[in-house]
Symmetry: C2
Subunit: 242 residues, 2 copies
């Protein structure tokens, strides 16, 4: 029976939450940094607040109120705000950079490397993230993730969920939107991708958020694939077992 | 003894000639196509003429006489000119695309996959080619080349040897030019990269051109590394043997 999946030539992944555990990784690194510097605050809350400034900071770009800026720069600005709120004022520039670069070292979910290797035998695999190219390249390398290509907001010069982020990424691969599939742990990202003509794969990541956040714990639409790991996606795409 | 190579954090490769044998590959595919269609012309000459239109077609973009266009489109325009010159007029659109896509399937020199794997243990590896992202992604995948990132004229929106092609590629990796190294089989590419602040590695590829072309058979400057294979570059960078 033919399926919309039959025409998929590239699968691109949302990254923060879908590919990597941004929350666990940032809490670990912030806590370790705080311990070394003798700064005892609730670093898990700090991590959530930092991530909380993610959408508002991108919205400044999406709205046209400021020119395109890469995520590293938005992360740095958000960090400086939070440090000021906490009256943490003795941090050196190289320490700021160390903290901004936490996002270049996030740890991948354990199914990603193996699942990507399987998918890569059938389709082009890539990122489609709001992270910048340098961040995504280091993150993939740090985790041994065999992406074929690094795409995202910086290569599209548009932040998801703007249509241009999806459409320009397809064009960069000489593909039509219906030949692209987005894999993501977030229903709103998939909805925007579907609207742009993409196929969709929902990978539920119940461990993404901290206690009390009940978001994206299930598929909110009949996405083309609904699964709980990259291996599940590889199975659905008919890839051979590892 | 410290060396300029000590600061290199990413090595990016010129592709046509340096990584892949464009001439052997295009001649083979064109000849096979001609045999299937009963068109007997000197396909080796045709391949050289096609490549001969490469620089003039990019110069239209570099000069500002036309807006940025990806290499696939320049390749297609050059091909149509040559087919018209040869009075070959019965070619179908899907055949044109098949021929344009020859450049997505070029064969890599045999030392590339192994040499890149070694380099990847020490630095970020990538392309820095005038090819477009879709072309380079397929070419790397076709040959099993483990590049960490696909960069080039399309991501920089500038064709080498324009300085922007080198400078924007460094910026995409959050690196300073002196942290970048270009590996290329062409002295003029290396000269432009060096002028932009890059480190340089010359990989001589005597098999790139056909008989009678005596170009780039030796290093014309004291490049940081001078070698004859990607393994030689890995040795020079202090990578462990495979």
């Amino acid at each position: 029976m033919p399926s919309p999946k039959d025409h998929v030539k590239a699968i691109v992944f949302d990254v923060f939450g879908t590919v990597v555990d941004w929350r666990g990784s940032t809490i670990r690194e912030l806590t370790s940094f705080g311990r070394g510097r003798g700064i005892t605050i609730a670093w898990d809350k700090f991590a959530d607040d930092w991530r909380g400034l993610y959408q508002p900071s991108m919205e400044e770009v999406r709205s046209g109120r400021r020119p395109f800026a890469i995520l590293d720069d938005l992360h740095r600005e958000s960090l400086l705000k939070l440090l000021a709120n906490h009256k943490i004022v003795t941090i050196e520039p190289h320490e700021i950079e160390h903290l901004v670069r936490i996002w270049h070292r996030l740890q991948a979910w354990p199914d990603m490397a193996g699942g990507l290797a399987r998918l890569g035998t059938r389709v082009i695999t890539g990122t489609l993230s709001n992270g910048n190219v340098g961040l995504l390249t280091r993150l993939a390398k740090h985790n041994g993730l065999p992406f074929d290509v690094i795409l995202g907001a910086e290569t599209a010069q548009a932040y998801k969920p703007q249509p241009a982020a999806y459409l320009r990424s397809a064009a960069l691969l000489n593909l039509q939107p219906h030949e692209m599939m987005l894999a993501a742990a977030h229903n709103d990202d998939l909805a925007a991708a579907a609207k742009a003509g993409y196929r969709t794969a929902f990978i539920v990541r119940p461990g993404e958020h901290g206690p009390g956040i009940v978001k994206d714990l299930k598929a909110e639409h009949a996405w083309d694939v609904i699964t709980d790991s990259c291996h599940g996606l590889a199975d659905a795409m008919g890839c051979r077992p590892a």
